[in-house]
Amino acid sequence: MKRLLLSLASIGLLVFLWEWLYRSDIINLFYFPPPSQFITFLFEENFNLGLGPERQNIFVSIVASSLRVLIGLIFSFSLGLLIGMGIWSIPLVNSMMMPIVRLFAPIAPIAWIPLALAIFGIGNVSAVFLVFMGTFFILVIATIGALNSIDRNLINVAKTLGADSSQIWRHVIVPSIIPNVFTILRINFIGAWMAVLAAEMVGLRDGLGAIILIGRESSNPDLILVGMTLIGIVGFIFDAFLIKIQKRIFWWSHINI
């Protein structure tokens, strides 16, 4: 509670300084309107932003961007785990696939944008593809890493308790690695989030990223600031949500017994 108050206070201070600087003559903040300005603008526009056919309710934009990231992450998490386990369990495949995976992993999500647009055109599939490509290979590597450091003793215990190999996979190996892989997912979420916004700016023309682009094209600083603020807030909420999952569902990742 105390920490929450402190966080709110520091944000409040930032906003206050910003408002004050805007009104003073120290520097020209025309392109950097403070919250009082762009929030008013948001209300005046009735939460519908954009011009002509691109005009859209901001909640639709928020949902669009969030769903793109969420679906991409769900795909890359589940397939990353599955493929990682597949590669790991067959030594020959492991040594053949690993160089390829490691070659692809360092490619930043944003770098996939031209390819995504070329293959899937402008649309949701491209955005999901970006998130997927930007995180999938890293998650495969994370899965294999987690598998390599699995506690063999737990597998031995399971064997003496009569578990067959499919039960060992489902009830020992998967719960052992999932928290670690999820942590990696959370760390790479920001990259995926940024890729979606970038894609929305260069091609998709809807979602939160597009708000900024439209603001730039129509020289409307209010619009740009609304977009930036929303990106910050939604990204923050998303991250908090992932942390919550980690703490609630995959809490044993950092516990050593």
Binding site: D151, N153, L154, N156, V157, A158, K159, T160, L161, G162, A163, D164, Q167, H171, V172, P175, W252, I255, I257
Partner: protein, 283 residues
């Protein structure tokens, strides 16, 4: 050094025939952990295994459980050669190795669930075991919320739930406080237990709760002595026979440990026994 084959008309549950195990190592010579172990255990017999640290006691249990294939010889359990682990041979490892994502109840229930034992039966069994190991109140706790001794009791409970006809235990009570240890010993090794148990232990007092004590040499572990205990329970720790057995075994181990310290057979100077005890204490 007597080495007599145990010949009996009673029902043999476990037989080790000339077991040897070498660990292959990438960075050094293979390590021979145990060598030529011949051993048989009768139904409802409790056999304890003692020997210097690192002599291969855990390795022996690992081979008997089926987790490790012996490099020589073979293990016969209930008339069949052991080739893989089975829930019919329950194992309590030297560390608890509980599943961290499962609470106490689920840890104990784990094997039963994998074998699709009926829910009602599982519940009955787990509840009884929880009360036997004194952890009924902790059923919903997770392993990281327990003390080491409590975790070890859960590990014992998890093995017991299997209802195996052979129980392999690797120093299961070493981490328990004195009082809890007595309770667990009474429950597991008391006359009413009616279990077939192979028990590895460091404690000679504990070893003497068995029907038979097997003494292993320093690594590679071989059987250098086998003592039939034959004490009537409840055991009187002041009885002459008890003290004799205890002294005999203690000396036997001491001899063996002395061989395994420094190359010239000397103790590190810091552990000169006489600095601490007037006579070397027995246990």
């Amino acid at each position: 050094m007597e080495s007599h084959q145990h010949i009996s008309t009673e029902e043999v549950v476990l037989e080790c025939k000339g077991i040897g195990l070498s660990y292959k190592s990438e960075h050094s010579e293979p390590v021979e952990a145990i060598s030529n172990i011949n051993l048989s255990v009768q139904r409802n017999e409790i056999v304890s295994v003692i020997g210097p640290s690192g002599c291969g006691k855990s390795s022996l249990l690992s081979v008997i459980s089926g987790l490790q294939a012996p490099t020589k010889g073979h293990v016969i359990h209930e008339g069949k050669i052991v080739t893989q682990p089975s829930f019919k041979r329950s194992m309590v490892f030297q560390q608890p190795h509980l599943f961290p994502w499962a609470n106490v109840y689920s840890n104990i229930e784990w094997g039963l669930k994998r074998r699709n034992v009926e829910k009602k039966k599982r519940e009955e069994k787990v509840k009884r075991i929880l009360s036997d190991i004194g952890l009924s109140k902790w059923a919903k706790s997770y392993p990281h919320e327990l003390s080491v001794g409590m975790k070890m009791r859960v590990a014992v409970g998890r093995a017991l739930a299997q209802h195996a006809n052979l129980l392999l235990m690797d120093e299961p009570f070493a981490a328990l406080d004195y009082q809890t240890r007595l309770l667990m010993q009474k429950f597991m090794l008391g006359d009413a237990s009616k279990r077939t148990i192979l028990l590895v232990t460091h404690s000679i007092d504990e070893a003497l709760l068995a029907d038979r004590v097997i003494v292993l040499s320093q690594r590679p572990g071989r059987i250098i002595d086998e003592v039939k205990v034959g004490l009537v329970k409840p055991i009187d720790p002041t009885a002459k026979k008890y003290i004799q057995l205890k002294t005999y075994l203690a000396n036997k181990i001491q001899e063996e440990v002395m061989k395994s310290v420094n190359d010239d057979g000397s103790w590190p100077s810091a552990v000169r026994m006489k600095d601490v005890w007037k006579h070397s204490p027995v246990d």
